[in-house]
């Protein structure tokens, strides 16, 4: 390492420090924006340092500059356009797409490095070969897996688990081939073997995500995020760059933590999710509510009376709320209730959305102040002194059956909605949720079912409350 490269390495450490401080500032919504800006500053520093290094190096050909500059400009334009136009409901797809390109770029670096050094007389085998191979393996799996995940979230690929006979055997075979070819390359430099590693890893990524159902997406996205980080760190080992190593490790840590949080919130092991969903997926069989005697149905006017004369209301939003684009309607209703002096808060289950924290962003977009968005453990004790719990588009996360052993959702942490004095459930039909189970909450004598599309229900409730309170 020449003296100059060493100094640049120090600048990279500064950039890495900015990333850490930036992430630290994200521990509160009040400082989070500053955190993002500190992180941007770190990235700019790293970018400038890299440019200086390139210019100082002086080995870049004219064609090389054109390739790099045009590539960067085109990529930036694509990123900028996507980031500015994306709907908040489509955030999980965008994050998946970013995971894909991040993992893909990391893999390309390793592939490129391998090809280049193979053409050199010195050969490719060295201390970093193992990192090169790990980078290719993880990066390629992330790339194809994230594309499939994004496709599922977007609806281009059916959201329900796609399972076919022998799928698991193919998965195992692909993994064996990819790792076997990689192991072979540790002792013998071989371009065809690299190609096999790449192709088998890409196929494995596809096969890994296809059998996973839509509601498990929070786990999958987090996991792929962790993979991307790891791939970037491996790329850092390959080219001996500290900024990549630190940034990759940070992202790897973040993705791993989120993966664990999400899996815990569903009380399912990671292996269980990867191996395949409950089998029903998003599109649960809609069992029509055929005047079931045990279920009490309610009209907008009656629901409005309950809400308007409550002193404490907790709103429990689920993915159905976002799917119906009802978040603005909910916020409007909540505002009217608040203006009447009613205490309104939102109980957010960790998996109430298609990625970690998704529901919070959707509600923040609808102008809901963040102090009202409460985490499960924090708000659960409050249900007992709540007059009305308004459940909108959430199902399994409110099912008291989870407290009993012996069923599909046993042990899953749930919101204690059944503790509230009265419960209003807004739902289109009596269809079951992701787990394909009846929700016992609906048969509770305290529960009234308001059968309607979430968006229309919110408009009706808002109008009814307005009429009522004048």
């Amino acid at each position: 390492m020449s003296g100059f490269t060493g100094e640049i390495q120090l600048v990279y450490v500064l950039a890495a420090a900015c990333f850490v401080v930036g992430l630290h500032l994200m521990n509160s919504p009040a400082t989070a924006r500053r955190g993002n800006q500190v992180s941007i500053a770190g990235m700019v520093i790293a970018g400038i340092a890299t440019l200086i290094l390139l210019i100082h190096d002086g080995t870049v050909t004219a064609a090389g500059w054109i390739v790099l500059i045009s590539g960067t400009l085109i990529g930036s334009a694509i990123g900028l356009y996507a980031a500015r136009t994306v709907q908040m409901t489509a955030m999980p797809q965008l994050v998946s797409a970013f995971n894909a390109v991040g993992g893909g770029a990391a893999a390309l670096i390793a592939i490129y490095g391998y090809i280049e050094s193979e053409s050199n007389a010195g050969g490719v085998l060295g201390a970093t070969t193992v990192f090169t191979l790990l980078d290719v393996l993880i990066g390629a799996v992330t790339f194809s897996g994230s594309i499939i995940a994004a496709g599922k979230l977007q609806g281009t690929i059916p959201g329900q688990p796609i399972i076919f006979k022998g799928g698991r055997a193919i998965n195992v075979a692909l993994a064996v081939v990819a790792i076997g070819a990689a192991a072979f390359m540790l002792t013998t430099a071989s371009l065809p073997a690299l190609l096999i590693v790449v192709l088998a890893s890409l196929a494995f990524g596809v096969m890994m995500v296809l059998p996973i159902g839509g509601a498990d997406m929070p786990v999958v996205i987090s996991l792929l995020n962790a993979f991307t980080g790891t791939a970037v760190a491996m790329a850092g080992f390959v080219i001996g760059n500290w900024a990549l190593i630190v940034a990759g490790a940070l992202v790897g840590a973040s993705g791993s933590i989120l993966t664990k949080l999400m899996a815990d919130a569903m009380n399912r092991s990671l292996a269980n999710i990867i191996v395949g969903g409950f089998g029903t997926g998003d599109s649960a069989i809609a069992v029509e509510a055929a005047a079931d005697a045990q279920v009490r149905s309610i009209a907008a006017d009656d629901a409005a009376i309950q809400l308007a004369y409550a002193s404490k209301v907790i709103i429990v939003p689920g993915y159905g709320l976002a799917a119906a684009q009802a978040q603005h309607g909910v916020a409007e209703l909540a505002k009217i209730l608040e203006d009447r002096g009613i205490e309104v808060s939102y109980a957010i289950h960790p998996v109430a959305g298609r990625m970690p924290g998704h529901m919070n962003v959707l509600l923040a977009e609808a102008n809901v102040p963040y102090p009202q968005l409460r985490e499960m453990d924090e708000i659960n004790p409050e249900f007992a002194r709540t007059d009305v719990a308004l459940v909108i588009g959430a199902n399994d996360v409110t099912n008291p059956a989870a407290r009993r052993p012996g069923n599909d959702i046993s042990g899953m942490p749930i919101l204690d909605v059944d503790q509230a004095k009265a419960i209003i459930v807004v739902k289109r039909s009596m269809g079951t949720g992701y787990a394909g189970m009846e929700n016992e909450l609906y048969f509770d004598p305290k529960t009234s079912m308001f059968f309607a599309d979430a968006k229309k229900a919110m408009a009706d409730l808002t109008a009814a409350v307005k009429t009522l309170v004048g």
Partner: protein, 112 residues
Amino acid sequence: MSTALVTDLTIFVLALLVGIEVIGKVPATLHTPLMSATNSIHGIVLAGALLIGVTAHTVVGYILAFVAAVFASANVVGGYVVTERMLKMFRRKAQPQVKAQPQPELDGKGRQ
């Protein structure tokens, strides 16, 4: 094992521990912005793409470097912009709606 590699591994392990410590404190409400922020942080791979792209002298090399640069820069720019967009929406208090919302007016039923 070379000293450089040992140093790299040390940095990796320490950064991993720092990451776990720092990110464990991020509240659930910010998990989506956190994820897009970390997305843009791993966009640092752009620096790697550029550094390795400089040695390109073959067509295959140029293509790989170009695609890596496109991927990585989309990642870094898009990630930061969308994170900023999301974080701007998080407010302590509800702001008065600037945009005139189509208010469903009471349709002649009158007030009570």
